[in-house]
């Protein structure tokens, strides 16, 4: 198993996927820094400033909103094997297919965590830097900011794993990427608009992520638009537990999906 995980690391490195991951992580972190520099009070619509708790939470929540990016990398990791037809050679070297899927899950969960740590480090540094430049004190204590950033990094690892599962299930890289992107950016948000169905939102990956990162802006904005009351999110710990549940189901799907499938 160690050899298979090491091989997946090498695949990540030699396929240049790591370089795109690096750029995306640094880019999303810097984007949050740029938003901090502009200041939430200058957003359209204007929001509470960086020196308020809510303003700081909005910025961190925006970073949480980019968790679908590492999910796309996880999807690419498996769907790319089918697209480039390397799956044949991989299955020849590891014919007990669950072994290479477990290796992929392990390697990409670690890669997702590395992505998350890099993104939150850059974002955290940028937010503190922007606050210093503007001469304001963040609305949340440094410890609370660090804790939220840590949760976002963990969430990114979980989403990478979810992406691996989607890739294993759908195999077609373009379809899988579209499904992941559309789900996180459109379908969950659309579900919040449907009365009755929106009660499910706290238990969906996006809702659980919002609970874990205390990012309520999206549900509140939808409530404002629809004139309804905002869907109550789960407590942070429960949100985390829901995400872990998704991770376990995703891991089971990723391992089971290719077992009986012909590789033609």
């Amino acid at each position: 198993m160690t050899a298979l995980v090491a091989a997946e690391w090498l695949r990540l490195k030699s396929s240049r996927l790591w370089l795109w991951g690096l750029l995306a992580a640094v880019g999303s972190g810097l984007l949050i820094g740029l938003a901090a520099l502009v200041g939430p009070e200058n957003f359209n619509p204007p929001m509470p400033g960086l020196d308020t708790e809510q303003g700081t939470r909005v910025l961190l929540g925006l970073l949480g909103f980019t968790v679908f990016v590492p999910a796309l990398f996880g999807t690419t990791a498996v769907a790319g094997e089918y697209r480039h037809r390397t799956v044949t050679t991989t299955a020849l070297f590891a014919p007990r297919r669950w072994t290479w899927l477990v290796a992929k899950l392990a390697a990409y969960t670690a890669a997702g965590l590395a992505y998350g740590l890099l993104a939150v480090t850059v974002a955290g540094g940028s937010i503190f830097g922007a606050a210093a430049l503007k001469g304001v004190t963040l609305g949340l204590p440094a410890g609370a900011v660090a804790a939220l950033l840590g949760r976002i990094a963990l969430t990114m690892a979980v989403y990478t794993l979810l992406g691996v599962a989607v890739g294993a299930l759908l195999r077609n890289q373009v379809t899988a990427l579209l499904v992941v992107g559309a789900y996180f950016y459109m379908i969950e948000t659309a579900l919040m608009l449907v009365p009755g169905v929106n009660g499910l939102y706290p238990f969906l990956p996006g809702g659980a992520t919002a609970a874990l990162t205390s990012f309520t802006y999206l549900s509140e904005a939808v409530a404002t638009q629809t004139g309804s009351s905002a869907t109550a999110l789960l407590p942070a710990a429960a949100g985390g537990a829901v995400l872990v549940g998704y991770a376990l189901v995703a891991a089971a799907i990723a391992v089971a999906a290719p077992l009986r499938r012909d590789i033609a």
Binding site: A3, L4, A6, A7, L10, R11, S14, S15, R16, G80, H84, R85, T86, T88, T89, T90, A91, L92, F93, A94, P95, R96, W100, R260, D262, I263, A264
Partner: protein
């Protein structure tokens, strides 16, 4: 190491690709797996490697299924039509990746690259490789585990005459070392001077399995003529 194929059957929907196919592949010889396009050669080879699950039947290597071998890639190496490479990966990295997956180390990757001529283009991204170079890289990958058995599906596809001659000598050398070599082809002139035995299939069924020496007669002095006679083609 002997390969035993017994009662192999596979259907895709209403189409029977392979039907009750049984044959042996013996060590120390090159066996040609011959048949026209669509005869079921590729499906059979993929079933031999557990890439496609047979509807019924078994394939064993010294009594074990491919997936049950202790180190499959160290026992059986396979060059399959359609096996691909990540386009951004260099040929050298591709070999190192699968060397690591099989637990063989970088030195072995360099060794097979030298053996197959991949070293000459090792630093090139696989997207820039010619068909012949890709075939060599596939062969190098198959050899990483120094396997006792080699299965090759249309390995001369895309090779120039020089490459085909090189491959012929290479595979003859492997058989001379006592390895089991099975080569599928529908181009009989290419395997004419390569194979010792033939397994001929048509419409997924076995036509014959026999040493080449028994097929060639004064009336049909070439493998192609003997094959066409046996499979109902002309002359």
């Amino acid at each position: 190491m002997k390969i035993e194929v017994r009662g192999l059957t596979k259907t895709f929907g209403q189409v029977t690709a392979v039907s009750d196919l049984s044959f042996d592949v013996v060590p120390g010889a090159v066996t040609g797996f011959l048949g026209p396009n669509g005869a079921g050669k590729t499906t059979t080879m993929r079933m031999m490697l557990d890439l496609i699950a047979p509807g019924s039947g078994t394939v064993t290597y010294a009594g074990r299924r491919y997936s049950d071998l202790k180190r499959p890639s160290a026992t059986v190496g396979a060059v399959l039509d359609g096996a691909g490479f990540h386009p951004a990966c260099t040929a050298r990295d591709h070999l190192r990746l699968y060397a690591r997956m099989g637990g063989y180390g970088r030195a072995r990757a360099a060794e097979v690259a030298d053996l197959t001529g991949v070293s000459a283009f090792g630093g090139r991204a696989t997207r820039a490789l010619s068909t012949g170079m890709r075939q060599r890289l596939n062969l190098a990958t198959a050899l990483l585990g120094d396997p006792r058995v080699l299965l090759l599906d249309e390995p001369s596809n895309g090779l120039d005459p020089e490459g085909i001659a090189w491959l012929r000598g290479f595979l003859r050398g492997l058989a001379a070392e006592g390895r089991t070599v099975l080569v599928s082809s529908h181009v009989l002139t290419e395997v004419e001077n390569l194979v010792d035995h033939v397994v001929v299939i048509r419409d997924g069924r076995l036509v014959l399995t026999r040493p080449v020496a028994e097929l060639i007669t004064p009336e049909r002095p070439t493998l192609e003529e003997a094959f066409l006679h046996l499979t109902g083609g002309s002359p």
